[in-house]
C-alpha cells in the first residue's frame, strides 16, 4: 500500500484518539502543529533546476573524447577543437571539456559537477519537436504521453493541486518556469503544475522586453485596466514578490544583465530559492544549439557560436553555484542540463553538425558525486553520415535517480511517475533521511476531491469523491490518454459519495482517474497490480 493512502485512511481511526485527544480538529488543519513542524523541514527541501539547451547540443564538442581524437578529427576536422586547447579534467586524461567552459572545469575539478556520458533512449528520434517531447514527457520513442515527467511527479506529491492551493503548507508555486510560457515538462495529470514568470518584481517580461505598450486610445485605457487587475490577480504574485524582496543575489560572478540570458534566468532562480520559496522545480532555458552551419569560427575553431553558448552555460552555472553558496542554499539545490539530442559525429560542409542522438549531460550541485559516469563514446575510423553515438544511459535513469535520491520517492511512486522501472544510477550523495513527515503533509495539503483506496488496487477499490452538487463525471484513462471506462456520470448531491471500482479486466499498470464536477476537477493516479 502506498504510504499516503495508509496515512490518509488510517490516521483518523487508529491514531487520532491518542494523538489528538481533547484537541479541536482544527489542530489537524493548515495551521496545526504538524504543519508548523513541516514548515521547519521545508528549508531543507530539495530543489531541482532544469537547464534546457534548445536545439540539440553538440556533445562531442562539449565533452571531448580525447582518446578518440584521431578518428574524431577525421570525421569532423572543420569543427574540431585543437587537442591542445581541450580543457583537462582532474583524474582523467581521456576526456576533456570545450575551451569555453573553464568555469565548469573548475567546478568539475572540485567535485561539484558530474558528467553523464552518452545519454539517450532506444530508437532515437531526430526531429527537434518529437525529441523534445520525448525528453519532456519521459516517453518511449514510439509512445505518446500527454503529461510531463515533472508534472507527473508534482501530481504525485501534491495530488490535490490546484484545489485548495495555495495553502499554508504550500504557499508558493510548485514549479516555476522562467520565461513567458510554461514548458510541457510541467503538464500534470490535468493542469499545468507550474507558472511562468519573467521578472519576479513586476511580472512583466523584462528579460525579453516583450510586453506591448497599451495604446493611448479607449481600447488602451481598458487594456491598461485589465492588465492592472491581472497583475494583482496572479495568485502567487505576493509571495513571489516577497521572496524576491527578501533575498539579494550575493555573487560577484554574475555577468552584467543582458549579456548572458541563461545567467539572467538563474539569477532569478537563486534569488527566489534564497527568499524562502518552497517551489520544488525551476526550469530555465537557452536556445541556439541547433548549429547546422558555422558552429565554429572558421579562423579559430575554439571560437564561434557554439563556443559562445557553452561559455554562457559555464559562466551561468558557476555564478549560480557561487550565489547559492553565499546565500547558504547550496546543499539543497541540484541542477541538470539537457538537450533534445546530440549532434552527428560527422560534420557537414557548412561548418556545422546535423541532428544526432545520444550526448553527455551535466549534473551540478554540492550533493552530486562528481566524476564521469560511463565511458567515452567510440568513434569509428570511417565515419559516415549515418553513424551516431550509441546510448549508454537512458535519460529516464537520471530522472529515476533524481526522483528516488533527490526527491526521496519510494520505488512504487517512482514507477508510478516514470511508468516503467529504470535502473537508478549512483550519482548523488545520500540525501534522503527522515523525509516522510513532510511528504505526508505535502500529499494531504489542499482539498481532496477524489481519493482511491486501496491504491495500488488488486481486485477492487473504493473511490471516494466530493460533489459540489450537479453532474459528476468520473473517468478512467490510461497513460496514453485513452478513455478506458466511465465510472460515474450523473447528478450527485452536494457532499461525499463512494463508488466501488472493480478491476474487471484492467491490465496491471498505471491509470488516471479523473473527476469533473463543473469547474472542479481532480485527477488521481491509480496503480493496478496483479
Amino acid at each position: 500500500m502506498k504510504r499516503r493512502s495508509f496515512i490518509k485512511n488510517t490516521v483518523p481511526v487508529a491514531v487520532l484518539p491518542s494523538f489528538l485527544q481533547g484537541q479541536n480538529m482544527a489542530a489537524y488543519g493548515p495551521d496545526s502543529m504538524l504543519s508548523r513542524l513541516a514548515a521547519t523541514f521545508t528549508d531543507t527541501d530539495h530543489v531541482l533546476v532544469l537547464v534546457q539547451l534548445n536545439g540539440g547540443n553538440d556533445g562531442l564538442n562539449t565533452v571531448i573524447p580525447i582518446d578518440q581524437y584521431t578518428n574524431l578529427n577525421t570525421a569532423r576536422s572543420n569543427v574540431m577543437i585543437p587537442q591542445n586547447k581541450v580543457l583537462a579534467l582532474t583524474g582523467t586524461s581521456a576526456t576533456g571539456l570545450h575551451p569555453a567552459m573553464t568555469h565548469l572545469q573548475n567546478r568539475y575539478n572540485n567535485g561539484q559537477v558530474s558528467i553523464i556520458q552518452s545519454v539517450g533512449y532506444p530508437n532515437p528520434n531526430y526531429s527537434h519537436f518529437r525529441a523534445t517531447d520525448i525528453w519532456l514527457t519521459g516517453s518511449d520513442s514510439d509512445k505518446v504521453l500527454y503529461n510531463g515527467w515533472s508534472g507527473r511527479y508534482l501530481s504525485e506529491e501534491y495530488p490535490n493541486f490546484p484545489t485548495g492551493y495555495p495553502n499554508s503548507n504550500m504557499p508558493d508555486p510548485l514549479a516555476i518556469q522562467i520565461g513567458s510560457i510554461v514548458s510541457p515538462v510541467f503538464q500534470g495529470l490535468q493542469v499545468s503544475m507550474a507558472m511562468a514568470i519573467s521578472d519576479p518584481t513586476t511580472f512583466y517580461n523584462l528579460i525579453n522586453g516583450t510586453t506591448t505598450t497599451a495604446p493611448n486610445t479607449h481600447a488602451g485605457h481598458e487594456l491598461a485596466y485589465i492588465r492592472t487587475v491581472a497583475s494583482q490577480t496572479q495568485q502567487y504574485a505576493t509571495v513571489i514578490k516577497a521572496a524576491a524582496a527578501k533575498a539579494t543575489n550575493k555573487s560577484t560572478l554574475w555577468p552584467t544583465i543582458g549579456t548572458n540570458k541563461l545567467a539572467d534566468q538563474l539569477k532569478i532562480v537563486s534569488q527566489l530559492i534564497a527568499g524562502g520559496m518552497k517551489t520544488r522545480i525551476y526550469m530555465v532555458s537557452l536556445g541556439g544549439f541547433d548549429t547546422h552551419s558555422v558552429q565554429v569560427d572558421p579562423t579559430d575553431n575554439t571560437k564561434g557560436d557554439h563556443a559562445k553558448l557553452l561559455g554562457y552555460v559555464s559562466e551561468a552555472i558557476d555564478a549560480f553555484m557561487d550565489d547559492c553558496k553565499l546565500l547558504n542554499t547550496h546543499n539543497r539545490v541540484l541542477g541538470m542540463t539537457f538537450s533534445e539530442f546530440g549532434r552527428r559525429i560527422k560534420s557537414n560542409f557548412s561548418g556545422g553538425t546535423d541532428h544526432g542522438s545520444a550526448a553527455p549531460l551535466f549534473l551540478f550541485g554540492n550533493k552530486v558525486k562528481g566524476g564521469i559516469q560511463g565511458t567515452n563514446p567510440t568513434i569509428p575510423a570511417n565515419v559516415t553520415v549515418n553513424d551516431n553515438i550509441a546510448m549508454q544511459h537512458d535519460f529516464r535513469q537520471i530522472y529515476t535517480t533524481i526522483l528516488s535520491d533527490w526527491f526521496c520517492l519510494n520505488p512504487t511512486d517512482v514507477q508510478t511517475v516514470m511508468l516503467q522501472n529504470f535502473n537508478k544510477m549512483d550519482i548523488l550523495q545520500d540525501t534522503c533521511t527522515n523525509n516522510s513527515v513532510t511528504e505526508d503533509i505535502r500529499r494531504n495539503s489542499g482539498k481532496a476531491l477524489v481519493s482511491i483506496y486501496p491504491n495500488p488496487m488488486q481486485q477492487s477499490s473504493t473511490v471516494e469523491f466530493e460533489s459540489a452538487g450537479g453532474v459528476c463525471v468520473l473517468s478512467l484513462i490510461d497513460t496514453q490518454g485513452k478513455h478506458i471506462r466511465t465510472i460515474a456520470d450523473d447528478i450527485y448531491a452536494n457532499g461525499t459519495h463512494r463508488i466501488n471500482l472493480d478491476r474487471a479486466g484492467l491490465a496491471a499498470g498505471t491509470y488516471y482517474l479523473r473527476l469533473q464536477n463543473g469547474m472542479n476537477m481532480q485527477t488521481r493516479s491509480l496503480v493496478v497490480v496483479d
Binding site: 534546457q52 534548445n54 536545439g55 526531429s127 527537434h128 519537436f129 518529437r130 523534445t132 517531447d133 514510439d142 505518446v144 500527454y146 520565461g179 513567458s180 510560457i181 510541457p184 490535468q190 493542469v191 517580461n205 525579453n208 522586453g209 516583450t210 510586453t211 506591448t212 505598450t213 497599451a214 495604446p215 493611448n216 486610445t217 479607449h218 481600447a219 488602451g220 485605457h221 481598458e222 487594456l223 491598461a224 485596466y225 485589465i226 492588465r227 492592472t228 487587475v229 491581472a230 494583482q232 490577480t233 495568485q235 532555458s285 536556445g287 541556439g288 541547433d290 453532474v471 463525471v473 473517468s475 496514453q480 466511465t486 456520470d489 447528478i491 469533473q516 463543473g518 469547474m519 476537477m521
Partner: protein, 564 residues
Amino acid sequence: MNRREFFTPTNRSNTAETLAPPSIEKVAAPKRINRGLATGLSPYAGAWGQDQVVHLLRRTMFGAKMADINYFKGKFMSQAVDELLTVNTTPPSPPINNYSGGVNKDPNIAEGATWVNGPDDPNYNGQRRQSLKYWWTGLMINQDRTILEKMTLFWHNHFSTQSTIYNSTIWGYNYLATLRGNAVGNFKDLAKKMTIDPAMLNYLNGDKNTKNAPDENLGRELQELFTVGKDLANHYTEDDVKAAAKVITGWRINKTTFQSYFDSTKHETSNKQFSAFYNNTVIQGKSGSTAGDVELDDLLTMIFAQNEVAKFMCRKLYRFFVYYDIDATTETNVIEPLATIFRNSGYDIKTVLTALLKSEHFFDAANMGCIIKSPVDFNVGLIRQFEVDFPTAATYETQYSMWGQVWSVGYIQQQDILDPPNVAGWPAYYQIPSFHELWINSDTLPKRNQIADLLLYVGIKRSGFTLIIDTIAVAHMMSQPDNPNTLIDDLCKYLHGTLTLSQTEKDTIKIAALLSGQVTDSYWTTAWNDYLANPTVAAKKKIVTDRLMLLIRYLLDLSEYQLS
C-alpha cells in the same frame, strides 16, 4: 417587503461592491484619455476590411467567427448592416423537458417534449428555469448572422426581470419570446407589451396593483428605468409615479393561459393628473373592459412625447454597442441626432440601429476594441470563434447539459442570464463611472482564463461527449497554418482585433510556443506538413497540438482577448 425597496435603492448605490468579493483590492483606473471624437452620424465611407467587419460583428453578435467574417467581407458595409438587422421573427423550437433523466418524471410533460404550454407545476419550475437558461444559451451559441441574440440580451437587461422571483418559468419563456419577437421592432409597442407582461407584472407587483391601494413599483420603473430615465436633473415627480400606478391598476395574470388580462373591478377609474414635466396632462379615467388598454395607451403616448425618452434610449444603445463614456461632443454629435432619428421614426428600433451602425462614428478606429466583453459575450464568443462542437438534438439531455456548462461559467463570472442582480439589470451596463470594467476583478478574471484553459486542454465531459477546442481545426481556419509568422499574425488579428502585439512579443511567443526554443521557422512548417501527411499518427498530431495549445492559451490569457 416591497421588492423594489429591497433590491433597488441599496443595491444600486453599491453595485460595484456586489460584484466583487470583499477581499478584492480596488484598482485605480488609469487616467482616461480625452475623447473629443469629431465623427458623427454621417454614413461611414471608409475602408471595409477585416478590422471593420470584425468590429461590426463583435458588437452585434457574440464573437466574430471566421466564416462570418469571410461572408461579410464579400458585402458592402451597408448591405452587411442591413442583413444583420433583418432578423428572423419565427420563434425557434421551444425549450423541452431535458430534466427528467429517466427518473423523477414530470407527470405532465414527456421527456423531450416542450413544457412551455403548461401546465405549471411548482415541483418542476426550477428545473424548467434551468432548461430555459440552457436553451437560451444554445440559441446564442447557434445564432444566425443577425443582431437578434445580442439585441435580445440588450432588452432583457433593459426590461430586467428575475426568473427566481416571478412565479412561473412559463411566464419567463413568454417574456423572452416577446423580447425576441420585438427585438428590432417598435420600442413603444415593446414597452406596452412589457408593462403588461405576466413575468414583469408579477416581478414588479403590477398584478397586485389595485384601486384601493395602488402598488407604485411598476409605475415607477416604467418611467425611471424603461423610458424616461433619471439622466435629467428635472424629471417626473413622485406624484407622477403615483398617477402612473393608478393608470395601470387592474392588470392580472391568468394562471391557466399564462396571459395577462384586465380586471375592471380592480381599476382606479378617476382622472389621473400629471405634473408640469408632462405638461400637466390629465389622463381621463375610464371604466369597463377596455379601460386598462386605453389608459395605458394614453400613458405611453404622454411619456413618449417627452424628448428625453429617445435620448435616454440612445445613450443606452450607445453604451451597449459603442462605448460607455459619453462626453459633451458625443452627446452633440451622436446622441442628439440619433434621438431625433429615433423619435421621427416613431421609435422604430431598426431605424435607430441602422443609423448608428452605419455611421462614421461607429467605425471610428478609436471606438474599436474598447468594450470589455460581458461574461456571456466572452464565453459564447469563445465557443463560437473556435467552432466548438456540441451534441445534437438526438442526444438532447447531453446537449442541454453542455449548453448548461456554458451558462454556468457565465453564472460564476457574474452574468446569470434571466437573473440579473435587480430590476436595473447588470451594473456593468449602467453604473457610473466604471461601467463594463465592473465585469473584471481579481475573482472573475481568473475564471475567464480558467474556462479558456479547460476548453483548450481537458474539455468538459458528459455522457461520453467532450466539449473541447480542436486546435488543429483552429489552425486550419487561418490563411497559412504552415507558416509560423502568418499563423501568429492571423490568430492575433482573429482573437485581438485591432489591438496588435509588438513584433518582439510575437517573435518571443513564436519561439517559445511554436518552435520549442528554436529560431528556425521551417521546423514548424515541417512539423505541420508532416502531420498533414500523417494525420492519424498520434505522435505527429501531438507535436502540433501541443504547440498550438501553448500559443492559443497565451493569446487567450492576454488582456487583449477580454476586449471587443
